[in-house]
Amino acid sequence: DAGITQSPRHKVTETGTPVTLRCHQTENHRYMYWYRQDPGHGLRLIHYSYGVKDTDKGEVSDGYSVSRSKTEDFLLTLESATSSQTSVYFCAIKHRVSTEAFFGQGTRLTVV
């Protein structure tokens, strides 16, 4: 699993509340990614990071922000959660040696 841990694994939150999801890695990989998985859409990229404090938008970034203040942590924040953000969220890294992508276990977020 390339030492990737997502937290929390499950969360139910109310519309309009802020939510932060955490991705933690222990192997010093430079590239980290946040995807969301929805039926009929597969996984879609939200934001990615190519180094500490270096981030960029993916294809579905509206309503999300990210931060990476240290190599091992990549945070995804929903400033004001909406029902359309109910989804399963995956963090991934690009392995610095094999260059393969490895995924966390996913976080199921429900916005009610």
Binding site: Y31, Y33, Y35, G40, H41, G42, L43, R44, L45, Y48, Y50, D54, D56, G58, E59, V88, F90, A92, K94, T99, E100, A101, F103, Q105, G106
Partner: protein, 120 residues
């Protein structure tokens, strides 16, 4: 932008039989990578097989093989001797080659997924 299309939302196969999952993609790049990922009910994303576009030989991994048709932009996955443990959602994915440059190297573009059911 690249796109990946899986036109089969669901497929089924009898145990020990062979099944082929389809994937087409669109890109203007000549060098890239293609992948098949398996997602069982545990939700874990598992890499099944990888193909590099500059390699003409189709990739194989035990019972899993691909039919890579670069000109047609087609990348199908064949599962031989299907087992109950093969039941899962399968995703086709595309990734740019490092030579494409930029900081977006490494990001994956996924298809919609195909749910594979294996009947005993």
């Amino acid at each position: 932008a690249q796109t990946v299309t899986q036109s089969q939302p669901e497929m089924s196969v009898q145990e020990a039989e062979t099944v082929t999952l389809s994937c087409t993609y669109d890109t203007s790049e000549s060098d890239y990578y293609l992948f098949w990922y398996k997602q069982p009910p545990s939700r874990q994303m598992i890499l099944v097989i990888r193909q590099e576009a500059y390699k003409q030989q189709n990739a194989t991994e035990n019972r899993f093989s691909v039919n890579f048709q670069k000109a047609a932009k087609s990348f199908s996955l064949k599962i031989s001797d299907s087992q109950l443990g093969d039941a899962a959602m399968y995703f086709c994915a595309y990734r740019n080659h490092p030579n494409a440059g930029g900081t977006s190297y490494g990001k994956l573009t996924f298809g919609q997924g195909t749910i594979l059911t294996v009947h005993p």
